[in-house]
Amino acid sequence: MKLIFTIAWRNILRHKGKSLVIGVILFTGAFLMTVGNGVISGMAVGIEKNIVNGFMGDLVLISEAQKSDNILLNMMGSSIEPVTTYKQIKEILAAQPYVKRFLPVGKNLAMVLDESTSAPGYAYLLGVDFAEYRKMFPDSFTVIEGSYPAGGQRTLLIPTFARDEFYDFYNIWFLPEGGRVVKENLKKEALANLDTLIISTNVVMMGMTSGINTTTDIRFPVKGIIRYGALNQIFGHFCLVDIESYRECLGYFTAADMAAQVPKEEKKLLGLEGGDLDSLFGEGMIVSDVKKAPKIKVVALNEPKLAEDGVYNAVFIKLNDGEDYGRSLKKLNKALAGTGVRAVTWNKASGPMGGMALIIKSALFIFVMLLFCVAVIIIVNTLTMSALERSSEIGMMRAVGAHKTFIAGMFLGETAVLSAVFGGAGILAGIVAVRIIPLLQITTKNDMLQLLYGGNFFNPLLSLSDVGLTALQLLFVTVVAAMYPMRVAVHITPLDAISRD
């Protein structure tokens, strides 16, 4: 082995030009792969951290009727199916030891209406109990104008990103009630038109859900302007609204509506089932003895009901630290059987965003493999030429007793040494680059870059498996690149060496 590597190393030094060409390709491939893996791992970790801790938790419950698992930024804002069994779900969730916290939410698209424009704009609404939302995601955003709503307050929080979008669309700058224009927060174009800036402290929105024709336009007073701690360009599409206003806007049963519903058993008593109103005045309803008459519960229309009695679209769930997603998901779905909902993981519920890391990782993998394919072709070509040029030497080695395996090992050794030296250097340089990049504190406000960064900061990370993957790719290149030259070399006979002379 030592002899093989001695010959391999000296041959590399002897053919410096060729070795350098191969080496540079291997170095570049290994460097790009390492840095790329670091960027993607950082992105995956960042997206997971920001979505799980700041937006939707580890698992999400959605209606069984919901076709797509993706409920975050779904195609054309298609509506999310309602979940009507939250009270039941709540009890089940509270009994699960692996569930840390949960939050029911309404989530759908709403039209933003304005008299001055004929074409409506759109915004995603996230209907929540503000107090509970804060407990679930305490650090997800900061209120930069106005204040955080008190519990039960009917109001709206607009993210800075959505406010900028509204301005672009309607030319209106939204402010919280009682607020004033904060110049530093103004969009550049709004600042330029400061004198003629149209200001509004409320937004009219109309819910959009398929299958419901009773959506209502609601005037929402703006309570505050918020900025999400990370991925503001993504999460900034979502305006936070109190759950009851959300339900009204979307045409769902509100908790108050539910309070006004006559329970089924009482409908039966009243003979209302089947919608036969005449039966109300039928003979069966006339009693001669008041004492024998059935007792009818009087339902107060204005009896206060809990918000959780109404309709939601999803339940965000945070698991205890270190809980396994797969196991928790299995247990939870089993426990929730019959409630009309199913649990999905955050990366499925967040649709393409959750799968973004995997998509980009696959794209990078393919790109680097293409680069390595080019490297393989160049290495194969160079080493084959080298094998043919060294026919006399190889033939002589065979003549003095070198087996074919020795010759094959010599070529594999040469490629392995090149891969180890240059590829290893590429990996090391990549690791150093990945360590240095976070120190530069690179930030972005660009949507796509935020996704790539996995947050506001460019913070690539490298795991051992990332480095291992690059090393495996290098190994693959080494073996594949050495195959053909090895084959050519082992077929050189001592006679070839003599004939060549």
């Binding site: 030592k2 010959i7 006399s392 033939g395 002589m396 003549a399 003095v400 007793g401 003599i498 002379d501």
Partner: protein, 228 residues
């Protein structure tokens, strides 16, 4: 005792649509410890005969026994083992490994035999001294003269203590003085190591070193000429 026994050896080479016979039925016996020269004009079949004996080329028909092994029926692995353990080669063009220095070139076959490095170096040191190149041990082949390279090739051929050393025109690329010194060295080694030497040449001056001369012409062995 014969170290080589050849019976009815024929070797044909295809050349386009025609077959060129290089050896047309050679019968030859070589005794152990012999110092034999094969002579003949260019194209007579000297090199082909040496190549077949050295397991570098294969007979078309006939029987070739080297050290008691019938080499015509062996596979590549077995043939390679015979080349490694029983035969040493000295080529016309020296054929040293350019990236190894003199001492490494000499010990190379021993390392192929997986002998311990220290033992290989000891044997190589002994031979380098015998061929007079001790002071050039660390030099690469490119830094040596033709004569020095051929000395290295001789040392390398001897290092495994082979039964036979085959040398194909070992002096062809050397001036007459250097060529004579190489033949002197080969003869001395034959005497010291008791190794059988067979070398081909078409240089009449070389013949005085041989103890036995075999003349070959048109692929057939002629009657052995008398020694001078």
């Amino acid at each position: 005792m014969n170290i080589i026994e050849i019976r009815g050896l024929k070797k044909n080479y295809p050349l386009g649509d025609t077959i060129v016979p290089a050896l047309r039925g050679v019968d030859l016996e070589v005794a152990e410890g012999d110092f034999m020269s094969i002579i003949g004009p260019s194209g007579s079949g000297k090199t082909t005969l040496l190549n077949v004996i050295g397991c570098i080329d294969f007979a078309t028909t006939g029987s070739v026994k080297v050290g008691g092994h019938e080499i015509t029926s062996l596979n590549d692995r077995q043939i390679t083992e015979i080349r490694l353990n029983k035969i040493g080669f000295i080529f016309q063009t020296f054929n040293l490994i350019p990236v190894l220095n003199v001492i490494e070139n000499i010990e190379f076959p021993l390392l192929l035999m997986k002998r311990p490095a220290a033992e290989a170096r000891k044997r190589a040191d002994k031979l380098i001294e015998e061929v007079g190149l001790k002071e050039h041990a660390a030099h690469r082949p490119a830094e040596l003269s033709g004569g020095q390279r051929q000395r290295v090739a001789i040392a390398r051929a001897l290092v495994t203590n082979p039964d036979i050393i085959l040398a194909d025109e070992p002096t062809a690329n050397l001036d007459s003085v250097t060529g004579a010194s190489i033949l002197e060295l080969m003869r001395r080694m034959n005497e010291i190591e008791k190794t059988t030497f067979i070398f081909s040449t078409h240089d009449a001056n070389v013949l005085k070193y041989a103890r036995r001369i075999v003349k070959i012409k048109d692929g057939l062995i002629e009657k052995e000429p008398a020694l001078a």
